[in-house]
């Protein structure tokens, strides 16, 4: 399959899928399915941001379908903490941290305004901070 993405972009997409699903196997399947679905359409986008927004939105959609919200406390590392977040906050913060898109494009890909993205990120950071303490993670680096 010929995809217009670098390995670095695919890696970032995989991180996004992992943070959404909380499971490595599910993340791989979601990303593969999203690539298969988006591949025929990617050529119609002239800007890389649009291509990435297309596949980002598809990964999010398929992650929603793949499973219910990943159970908090299950899995390993950073994904376990992200599982404590509501889906909207999880998608917003995962989208920001994967660094695939500028904030404005990320907001568009998530179909929200930049202001709403800011509010979601504020709430997500606060919730993730509390979750880290509750889960007793000494540090995120060690959690991985």
């Amino acid at each position: 399959m010929d995809l217009p993405f670098s390995t670095e972009d695919l890696t970032r997409l995989y991180r996004f899928a992992l943070l959404l699903t909380g499971d490595e196997g599910a993340a791989q399947q979601v990303l593969q399915d999203a690539c298969v679905e988006c591949a025929p359409r990617l050529g119609s986008f002239h800007h890389e941001d649009r291509q990435l927004a297309c596949i980002l939105g598809t990964v999010r959609h398929k992650a929603r379908l793949a499973a219910a919200t990943p159970a908090a406390g299950e899995g390993r590392g950073i994904a376990r903490e992200f599982a404590t977040l509501p889906e909207e906050e999880r998608a917003a913060l995962a989208g920001l941290y994967t660094g695939l898109l500028p904030a404005r494009c990320l907001a568009e890909a998530l179909k929200i305004s930049l202001e709403d993205l800011g509010r979601l990120l504020r709430s997500a950071r606060a919730r993730l901070d509390r979750a880290s303490l509750e889960l007793g993670e000494p540090s995120l680096e060690q959690a991985l």
């Binding site: 399959m1 010929d2 995809l3 390995t7 695919l10 890696t11 995989y14 991180r15 992992l18 943070l19 490595e24 791989q28 990303l31 593969q32 690539c35 298969v36 679905e37 591949a39 025929p40 359409r41 590392g77 950073i78 920001l96 941290y97 994967t98 660094g99 898109l101 500028p102 904030a103 404005r104 990320l106 907001a107 930049l114 202001e115 993205l117 800011g118 509010r119 990120l121 504020r122 950071r125 993730l128 901070d129 540090s139 995120l140 680096e141 959690a143 991985l144």
Partner: protein, 255 residues
């Protein structure tokens, strides 16, 4: 930019990532850097993000997934929904072609069902009416059936024939004319402005099942022809096939 707005947009900032590319985010970050309260909050946010990013960046793309993506054949066009599939140009072209064929077949079948040997000669009789001015006929005041004796006496025509149901129409005029040297009896009927024709089937090559009506349109005219043994009778008037069907049904002539 208001302090509250700035605090919101700062949340979209993540050091080292493209979040600051949006002007509003970049402006909010600059404003936060100048505000003591926001500056501390921004520093905490950046430290928090740095810890998260450090963990996330440890996650690498599984080589097996990369290999699977490379090995997956390029998918074709997306499967189309039923409606979208029907709107494809190829499907539309096929549908149009099928419609034309069906229409052509329908017209052919209709023509076959409504044609008969000698029809061209009969049509010429109908079209000849348009060239008449009314003076060609001799005035008559009798029923169509009773004109049999008149045609026999005046013209020596002994093949005049009027089928059941049409005998009692009152005639206003009648004549005998020759088409291709063969005699044709013609009677004008004021009712419905009908014209009756009677002629020998063999003279004009007409061959029809006995006592069976065949209807056809010719311009504004509609006509129905019936053969009875060697004689033919035709009734015509300006109207539609439906008008003729109604007339013949009243005579018990249409199946």
């Amino acid at each position: 930019m208001k302090s509250e707005d700035s605090a919101i947009f700062v949340q979209c900032h993540c050091a080292g990532l493209p979040g600051t590319e949006d002007p509003r985010v970049a402006k909010a970050v600059r404003a936060a850097g100048k505000d003591i309260g926001q500056k501390a909050a921004l520093a905490r946010q950046q430290a928090f993000d740095a810890r998260q990013l450090s963990a996330i960046e440890q996650v690498m793309l599984p080589p097996a997934l990369l290999a699977r993506l490379a090995a997956t054949p390029a998918p074709g066009a997306r499967p189309l929904s039923g409606k979208a599939a029907l709107l494809q140009p190829v499907v539309i072209a096929i549908a149009i072609g099928a419609a034309v064929l069906i229409g052509w077949a329908g017209v052919s079948l209709w023509n076959r069902a409504h044609t008969f040997p000698g029809k061209d000669n009969v049509i010429r009789m109908v079209e000849m009416i348009d060239g008449m001015n009314g003076t060609e006929m001799l005035p008559k005041n009798d029923t169509a059936a009773n004109l049999k004796d008149w045609f026999l006496v005046k013209y020596g025509l002994d093949d005049y024939f009027v089928p059941a149901g049409f005998e009692n129409y009152q005639a206003a005029g009648a004549r005998l004319f020759k088409q291709d040297e063969e005699p044709v009896a013609q009677v004008a009927i004021p009712d419905h402005n009908m014209i009756f024709f009677s002629f020998k089937a063999a003279d004009f090559g007409v061959t029809l099942p006995n006592d069976e009506w065949h209807t056809f349109k010719d311009g504004p005219w509609v006509a129905a022809v019936q053969q009875h043994d060697d004689e033919c009778f035709m009734v015509t008037f300006r109207g539609s096939s439906g008008d003729m069907d109604s007339l013949l049904q009243g005579k018990g002539g249409v199946k």
